[in-house]
Symmetry: C2
Subunit: 194 residues, 2 copies
């Protein structure tokens, strides 16, 4: 197991000493999941905040009619969890499922709380990370009001480069809130424009 | 001007020494706005993160068809800004407008960055506040998928107690994503059920 990408990621925002890196790594849990496995299931408490070392996951919500709504994808160097459930330790609304074999670095709730005490500058790191997540989620709401589907698809491709090849088209359509047929039309149109 | 509510709010999450309180207050800008004035206008950079001392504001987005979408309200002890614009110092997507005469405690971007250096435990405070905002915004997305309009209205009343009396009904309808007529029907139904 190679946790170097996690340290490299954190050190983009704050500077950890070798001792702090050791303290942090002692609390990180490394886990492999198979394609199809669930990291979070709605109704269960989300136990971990997860950093993606390799693989691909989707976060989705099933509405009362049984319809799946994809809220986000996560690939290498992304964080994923049902953050509301993780923070409050109440049952999750969302599911997080692996779309490929996936390796995660996981922080348990109580371990992260302890790490905040031992390495206070992690507060800064997570403050910045969560700010970015909040802004991305607001931006998505604005885009859903204001951008036509084609522009939303282009914004998606920019946000998740190369994920087009890794994720079935019907999931991308679900994320964009359009039908698979309409996404296919948009893709064909973009090919013709090239 | 009485900034005590701001200190009381912050001290719920972290404990500031009297010196730290003085450092913080030296960087806070107190400002009164009249009903109808804008704190943030879309297209301008959002300069301040704002704590509401008194009054009431709405955050909204105008889509390309000119339709207004209310994203949140803020009353006493809430924070309001276009956070994406504030963090990146790029032009705002949202407008923040006063629905009543309003008093704010404002943190300018560069002052807040400096405060993080001078009082590192503010990182913890804002980490927790932004987490809560993120979770509330996710919850709203889930509710919009899953709850019927009546339940969404009840959730709104729980989240913003007494705002019913302070805000025109058509704005509450906009926040809930329903027509004014439909909201009126729901309210009448609830009165009959009492």
């Amino acid at each position: 197991m190679n946790l170097q990408p996690l340290l490299a990621y954190i050190n983009q925002y704050i500077t950890l000493t070798p001792e702090e890196e050791a303290t942090l790594l002692a609390k990180v849990r490394y886990r492999k999941y198979l394609k199809g496995q669930f990291v979070v299931q709605s109704g269960d408490v989300c136990k971990y905040e997860n950093f993606v070392l390799s693989g691909c996951l989707k976060t989705f919500y099933i509405d009362p009619e049984g319809q799946e709504h994809i809220v986000m994808f996560a690939v290498e160097n992304w964080w994923t969890a049902d953050l509301g459930s993780f923070i409050t330790q109440n049952p999750a609304d969302f599911n997080v499922q692996c779309l490929e074999n996936t390796e995660l670095a996981q922080f348990a709730h109580e371990d992260l709380e302890q790490l905040y005490q031992e390495i206070p500058k992690l507060e800064r790191f997570f403050r910045i990370i969560i700010q970015k997540a909040f802004v991305a989620s607001q931006k998505r709401v604005v885009n859903s009001f204001s951008l036509p589907a084609k522009e939303r698809y282009l914004a998606f491709k920019k946000q998740y480069p190369q994920i087009d090849q890794r994720v079935p088209q019907y999931m991308i359509a679900s994320y964009l809130g359009i039908t698979k047929e309409f996404l296919s039309k948009i893709r064909n149109q973009l090919i013709l424009e090239q």
